[in-house]
Amino acid sequence: MAAPAQLPPTRPATLLPTGGPAPGVERVVSRRWGRPQSWTLASYVADGGYRALKKALAMTPAAIIDEVKRSNLRGRGGAGFPTGMKWSFIPKDVPGSTGAPSKPRYLCVNGDESEPGTFKDRYILDNDPHALIEGMAIASYAIGAHTAYVYLRGEFKRQAERMEAAIAEAREHGFLGPNVAGSGFALEAHVHRGAGAYICGEETALLESLEGKRGWPRLKPPFPAVVGLFGCPTVVNNVETLANVPAILDRGAAWFAGLGTEKSGGTRLMCVSGHVRRPGVYEVPMKMTLRQLVVDVCGGPEEGRTIKAVIPGGSSSPVLAPHELDVACEFEALKNAGTMAGSGGVIVMDDTACLVRTLWRISKFYAEESCGQCTPCRDGTPWQEALLYRMENGTAEPGDLDKLISVANAICPFPPMGLGNTICPLGDAAALPVHSFVQKFRPEFEAHLREKRCPFPTPWGRSAGAYGPAAPVARGWS
């Protein structure tokens, strides 16, 4: 059979952002989005781009790491790990060598963006690829890497093209290549496209995938900082994390730290989807509460509907009930609320949505994406899915809810006591939604069992508006 037809692009290569900055917010990462040709080098340089790189190249790597540490920048990929500290874990030069480290080091950019509900990195890649390249160059210099790989999820065809074009442009103008900005520092950057596997967003699975293997997470330790890509010291950072770095160097750690809270510097990109009037990516201060974000910024659910549940950080994060929404969009605050900041993917469900259906779909995702290395995850995730399917379709038995909890407990007990029973956190990510949905919305599950059917006429809710008029495009972009 012939190869699939190559289609001409049916839409402009830049997707317009659907959200915007929250009102009155200092914009860092989304500052340039929506400007004409914002993805070109000329436009980036005209806006002060690559100034921070030149400044950084005149500093020592240790001073850069110190600056990033003081900025309180924390990883935006999911775990919220302090970025400066991560960079400092790269072993120092081996003594006896002539200054050059014995093994190469690598920087890997995590652009896998596969956590359900998350769509922010895509906008960075579309609108401001040079901010990422500048952040990569600064990070590479700080950790002594001369090669950087940008791992993009396989579906990001346009984004990969844009990134490749930006890398070529940066190289042409000497911001990448053998002599970065005339400093003598050498850096090559390459795009590496994935091929469709959620697990490759996990940093060690990403490294395996980059090495040309299946995306099977590795046992840690050793951590990538010591044994990473090709057995060499490696830093893996999220796209948004690195896109923040130029601004830190340019305007200073104190300014960046001051934008955030005591323990998390800067702003955050939040992706809001589901039952809200104005879904999209919004740059918000860490202090903003989830309720402000969902109701004030995104307009809340449609007229006459009320919020039933909110997932705050991608489908792996425990769900919150409406009375729990007065929590800041910040790592510590969300952790104290029994959930996590995760990837910033906020999914809103209004009162017409069936949470059994929702949890079934979430469980189906993890069953599909488990890599199959650990028994509790490989066997438990399809079991969770099957039990929830039965509840939703009226074929469940009375004990199924308890059974569901015991299956989830076998993957990761609740509340989680440190690490779960699996190699990587996907197992925990599969079990925690089950625990939290059942704990907070038990009556809904019991109603399904009692009535032996789904009591919702349209389980995904919002029946009339489900295909409704398209949401307005690009508000608030200068």
């Binding site: 190869a3 839409r11 579906e155 065809k157 091929a195 989807s273 994406e369 949401a471």
Partner: protein
């Protein structure tokens, strides 16, 4: 192929596996045991190493597909905005279940996980191009427009 290999250290040719397989797939439509063996040989690994990769990733295909591959997202955000109903609509319209190819070899319908486009849900990829904020009507118009 040489351009792909140049991105990785000379002693780590295996790293070119995904780009190489995708290149071959783009030319041939899907991956046969022969092409897998060929790629493996070029990268200096056993054919099984290419085979296990080809079956691990959802975008790599070891069976033929239609000229147009429809990858519809039905993950939570999309389904909350009508994704699952869109899937039923497409199944009815094309007359094939999820995973199926129409008898004329024109369409393959697949259900995929979150495509990182949840703010413009529901979405699908048609031969790797995104189409967003879909309704049954706009999907019909899209399919009608294809040669």
């Amino acid at each position: 192929m040489a351009a792909i290999l140049s991105r990785y250290p000379a002693d780590r040719k295996r790293a070119a596996m995904l780009p190489a397989l995708r290149l071959v797939q783009e030319m041939k439509g899907y991956l046969t045991p022969e092409t897998l063996a060929l790629v493996a040989e070029r990268l200096g690994v056993a054919p099984a190493a290419a085979g296990e990769v080809a079956t691990f990733y959802t975008m790599l295909r070891v069976t033929p597909v239609g000229r147009y591959v429809i990858d519809l997202c039905t993950n939570v955000s999309c389904s909350l905005c009508g994704g699952e109903r869109l899937l039923r609509h497409l199944e009815r319209r094309l007359g094939v279940p999820v995973g199926g190819t129409t008898p004329d070899g024109k369409f393959t319908l697949r259900e995929v996980e979150c495509l990182a486009s949840c703010g413009t849900a529901p979405v699908l990829q048609l031969n790797e191009e995104y189409h967003e904020r879909l309704t049954p009507e706009t999907v019909d118009a899209l399919l009608d427009s294809l040669p």
